[in-house]
Symmetry: C2
Subunit: 420 residues, 2 copies
C-alpha cells in the first residue's frame, strides 16, 4: 500500500474549510452574551444554550489555532477567526470564573448569560482555558491573555495532585487512590501548546519542559500495561490500602481513545529539545519505539472485529464494565486514532501505520460524515455504526477534536508528501 | 385477549424459585466478611468484590421479603432466607455506616471487608437499608432492626430537601434548582414497605401516611407533564432563576421506567386507608384514573417501535440527550413496566393493560432470559436487543427488581385468577 499523502492533505483541509468551519462559524457564536453555543443538532440548529467550559475553552483555542496555523488562510479569514476566538476568551475571562475564591478557578458550566451552574470541580476547564488564552495571545499579542495562560498553568500544577478537590467522593485515608491518566495526558498537551506559542521562552521554558518529561514518564512507566500493551486509565498509588486496587473496576479500566491520543501527544513533544531530568529517562529513540508499539497494540486490542471501529472502554481482564456506553463508537476516539497512526508513521515509516491510517480514515468517512447535511461529523454511533444522537455538538462535542484532527492530518500529510 | 392468570402466576413464581433465587443463593453470600457479592458474570461467577450499599440493602430486604411473603415457602426455606437477610443487615449495621458523623449515614460503597470507598452522598443507600431493616424486623422480631429502620426513616425525612448535601456541584443561590422524581418515588415505596410490616402502627402510622400523601401529590401534580402524559424527572422549583429551567437538559429529561415504577408504587398505596391532608387531595378513584392514564401514555411514548422494548431515557421535546445509554433496554425498566400493567389491570380491568402485559412479558422472556445458563435474567441490552454486558449482577443490578417483579407478578396474577 502506498498512500497519496498530498491527496490526503488536501482532502482533510478541504473538509475542514468547506464543512466543519462554516457550520460552527454560522451557528455557534453567541453574539449577544459572548461565548459559544455548542449544542447543535443534525439540522445545524442550536437546541440548548448552556455553556460547558471545556468546550468554551476548546473552541476559543481552535479559532486562534486556525488563525495561527492554517496554511493559506486569507487575511480576512484570520481576522474573522481572531474575532471569534476573542468572543470566547473574553467570555471565559469575564463570566466563567469562580470569583468568590482566591484562585478563581473556572466553573464546569454556566447558563447562556454566564450564571454559574456547575462548580469548578474539573481541572480540565482550566487546562482548556489555558491553551485558549495562549493561542489567542500568540495570535494577537494581548498581554492579559499571555498572563492569564501562565496563571492557569501554575494553578493546574497546584491542583494536579488532587484534581477533584473537595468534590471527590473518596474517604481520606481509606478509599483506594489512583493516578488518573487523563491528568498526565492533558498536562503533556497543555505544555506543548504553551511551548509552541513561543511566548514562554526563557523563564517559562523550564517548568513546561519539566512537566512534560514528568508526565510522559508517568504515562510510559506507570500507566503502561506490559501484558496488554496499552495504558491503564487508573493506576493505584503506592501504599497498603491500594494493594489490591489494580483488580477493581477503576483499576481495570482501559480507554483505547485516551491511550492513542496520549501516544501522539508524546510523539508531539519530540519536536522540543529537553534535558533528561531523571536518571532513567529514556532516550528519544526508545520513546518512539515504545510509544509506537503501544499504538500498534492498542489499535489491535481496541478494534471491534465484528462491527468495525474502536471501542470506547474495555476492561483489562475482559470483565464486564460499569460503563454502559462501552461499545459505542465515538468520533474523537477515531480522530485521535487517526492522528496516532499518522504521527507513528511519520516517526517510523512502518507500513502497519499506513494501513491502519487508511482503515480508520475509511471508517470515519463512511460512518461519521453526514452525507445528507454535511457540516461537522456525527459524534456518537452505536456499536453497529448507527447514528446514536442527532447532534453535531453537545455537552462534550464541540469545535475541537474534529477540526484539530482535520487540521493536523492536513499539515502532517503535507509534510509526508513533501518528504516522499 | 384473555390471559390465563393462574398460568402466569405459576410461571413467574416457578422462574423465581428455580432460576433467580438459586443463582443468588449459591454465589452471592460472602460468608467470610458478611454482606453480598453482587458482581456476577454470565457464567454465574463473582467478578468483582466491591459492595454497593444500594444493593446490599436491597438484597437483605429481598431475602426477608421472600421469607415473609412467598407463598408455600417451606420452613427450611424461610429460615435459610432469614439467615441470608441477617448476613446483609448485620453487615450494613456494622460495616457500612459513616460513624465519624453524628447521623451515621450509609456509605455508597465499601470494599469486600467493609473499608469505605465512596462517601455517603446518596440518600437511597439509607432508603434501601431502611426497608431491609424493616422486613428483617418483621421476619425475626428483632427490636434493633425495627429501631434502626425508624431511625433511618427520620433521617431520610431530614435529608430529602437536599438529598445530595455537600456533594452537590450546584452553586448555592445561582444554579437552577429542581425537584427530583426519584426522591418522591422512593419515599412512597419506603413508607409503603414500613407500613406493610405492621410494625409501625400507632405512632409511626401518621408520619408514614403523611409522607405518602405528600409525595404522591408531588408526583401527580408537579412531575406530571400534561402534554406527554408522563412524569418529568426534574421539575424546577419556584423562583426567578428557575424561570427557564424547564427547557434545559435536566428539565426535559423523561425516564419511562421511573414513571412506570412510580405509578405502580402509587397504586400500591391504595391498600392503606389514609385521611386527606390537603384540600386538593384527589379521591382514590381520581388517583386510579390519572395514574392508569399515565401508565398508558408512558407505554406508548416509551416503546421503541423499531426494535421493541422501552427506551431508558427520552427528551420531552425530542432533543438530543446527554445520556449516551438512552436507547438501551434495561431489565428493571421492563420489569417495572410489567408490574405497572398488572396493577393497572387489576384496578381497571381495561384490556389495554392486559395486552401490554403480554407484550412486555414476551419481550422479557424473549430477550432478557438467558436461554443457555438460566439463573437470573440479563441486565443490559442494546437497542436492538443484543446482550450488552455479560453480567447477571453488577454495581446497579442486584437481587432486587428481578425477584421482586417475579414475586409480585406471581402474587397479583394469583389474585386475578382467583377473582375471575
Amino acid at each position: 500500500m502506498s498512500v497519496n499523502w498530498a491527496e490526503v492533505s488536501s482532502k482533510h483541509l478541504t473538509y475542514l474549510r468547506k464543512e466543519v468551519i462554516p457550520m460552527w462559524e454560522s451557528v455557534s457564536p453567541d453574539k449577544e452574551y459572548g461565548g459559544y453555543f455548542t449544542c447543535i443538532d443534525g439540522n445545524h440548529k442550536v437546541y440548548d444554550t448552556d455553556k460547558f467550559i471545556w468546550l468554551q475553552g476548546r473552541e476559543a483555542y481552535m479559532f486562534a489555532k486556525l488563525a495561527n496555523e492554517l496554511p493559506d488562510a486569507t487575511p480576512e479569514e484570520r481576522s474573522r477567526w481572531i474575532e471569534l476566538s476573542k468572543l470566547g476568551v473574553e467570555f471565559l475571562r469575564d463570566k466563567c470564573r469562580d470569583t468568590t475564591t482566591e484562585r478563581k478557578d473556572f466553573y464546569f458550566s454556566v447558563a447562556r448569560d454566564g450564571t454559574p451552574q456547575v462548580a469548578p470541580f474539573s481541572i480540565f476547564s482550566d487546562c482548556f482555558a489555558c491553551t485558549a488564552f495562549a493561542q489567542y495571545a500568540k495570535a494577537t499579542g494581548e498581554t492579559w491573555a499571555k498572563e492569564l495562560a501562565w496563571d492557569r498553568f501554575l494553578r493546574i500544577e497546584e491542583r494536579r495532585s488532587n484534581p477533584v478537590g473537595s468534590w471527590g467522593k473518596g474517604i481520606a485515608g481509606q478509599s483506594r487512590e489512583f493516578l488518573p491518566l487523563n491528568v498526565s495526558m492533558i498536562d503533556v498537551n497543555t505544555c506543548v501548546e504553551l511551548l509552541s506559542t513561543g511566548l514562554f521562552d526563557g523563564a517559562g521554558d523550564g517548568p513546561l519542559k519539566a512537566r512534560i518529561q514528568m508526565s510522559v514518564m508517568i504515562m510510559l512507566e506507570i500507566h503502561f500495561d506490559e501484558k496488554l500493551g496499552v495504558f491503564r486509565e487508573n493506576v493505584p498509588t503506592p501504599g497498603e490500602r491500594n494493594a489490591n486496587a489494580v483488580d477493581t473496576h477503576e483499576g481495570r479500566l482501559v480507554n483505547p481513545g485516551h491511550t492513542l491520543e496520549g501516544c501522539w501527544f508524546i510523539l508531539d513533544t519530540l519536536r522540543f529539545q529537553y534535558d533528561p531530568i531523571h536518571p532513567n529517562q529514556p532516550s528519544q529513540p526508545d520513546v518512539v519505539a515504545k510509544v509506537c508499539n503501544i499504538i500498534k497494540r492498542t489499535l489491535q486490542h481496541g478494534w471491534d472485529s465484528e462491527f468495525g471501529g474502536l471501542f470506547y472502554f474495555l476492561d483489562a481482564e475482559g470483565k464486564p464494565l460499569q460503563q454502559l456506553e462501552w461499545d459505542q463508537k465515538l468520533w474523537w476516539v477515531h480522530q485521535e486514532a487517526l492522528l496516532a497512526c499518522l504521527y507513528a508513521f511519520r516517526a517510523t515509516k512502518d507500513p502497519f501505520f499506513e494501513e491502519w491510517f487508511v482503515k480508520i480514515e475509511t471508517y470515519i468517512f463512511d460512518k461519521f460524515v453526514d452525507k445528507k447535511n454535511g457540516g461537522d461529523i456525527w459524534g456518537y454511533l452505536s456499536r453497529e455504526g448507527r447514528v446514536l444522537l442527532n447532534l453535531k455538538g453537545g455537552k462534550w462535542k464541540g469545535f475541537f477534536h474534529s477540526p484539530r484532527a482535520f487540521l493536523l492530518t492536513g499539515l502532517v500529510a503535507k509534510e509526508l508528501a513533501a518528504s516522499s
